[in-house]
Amino acid sequence: MPKGDPLVSPYVATFGDYKYDPAADADSSRPNHAVRIAVSFDNTTHAITGAVVWRAANCLWHHIVCGLGADGTPNSSTFDFDLTTLNDATRNITANQMGRPPYNVDTIDQFMATQITAY
């Protein structure tokens, strides 16, 4: 039963580990014990204009993954944002990068056509 509201940029997903406590975060865009992705897009055309990923240094997770891999787990998905080198830091991903392998997504609709999680 879709709510019917228009999809508004950005799409944000945050994945916390077992110590995640958003109420304790001074800046919700840089949550502790969490990784986060914010995908910006054109509200009319839905074309992706870029993305920003964040990883807190104290977070157990190092990857944000979309879809499932060949073995049926998210861990083996090639649609993988590797955040291993990020420690309390963000990284920008351009629209051009999002449109190339391994992501191959040009619109927010394509991005959200698969599931998303983190590990």
């Binding site: 039963m1 879709p2 709510k3 019917g4 944000v12 990784v35 998210p74 959200m112 599931q115």
Partner: protein, 208 residues
Amino acid sequence: VALAIDASSPAVAQNITAASTDTATTASFTPPANSLLVVLVSGDTFAAGTNSTWTITDNLATHLTYTQRVYSSSTDTPNAGGSALIYTAPVTTSAPMTVSVTNAAGSGTGRPVHTGAGANGYQWLNSYSRGNGKLSSTSGASLAASYTASANGSWGFAAVQDWNATGTMTAGGTGNTIIASATRTSTSCLTASHAVLLPMVSRVLQRP
């Protein structure tokens, strides 16, 4: 030793597609032996006043035994949209595993765009404890569940669905906290082309 949420607990998994059946699968995790897996689920329904068919499984050769502790559904008064569920499963042997939860449309065909009912939220709140309580509202800005804990040092869990996505959720009371969230910045159920919001989080309770 106090009961605690184990560090092996996986991140929330979420899936929103236009498919009539959607599944969210956690990343692989390895719960310790003799722990309890608590799976908190919230998602959309496919039409007002009807239920989705929810199923849960894992990728183990011998599946864990899952017990649905509570299910707040769209057929519960006052027929608010969305679902919230809690499953538990005892883990006797430690092994790498994933958990998958599926939301199926069942016999539902139409997915009409809901016009909403004012500015207040459609909210579900499930609390699983001794009472397996549940409550819902189509107008309240908050829900409060009370229960008597089964023992000192025990844990209470709630799965919440705010179908109307009125804003960032907060956990009231003393000592309560949001352990995972799939809240969108603007909407939860999105457009007609994205009919299902299916966030799922698994937590492993460990008592050494």
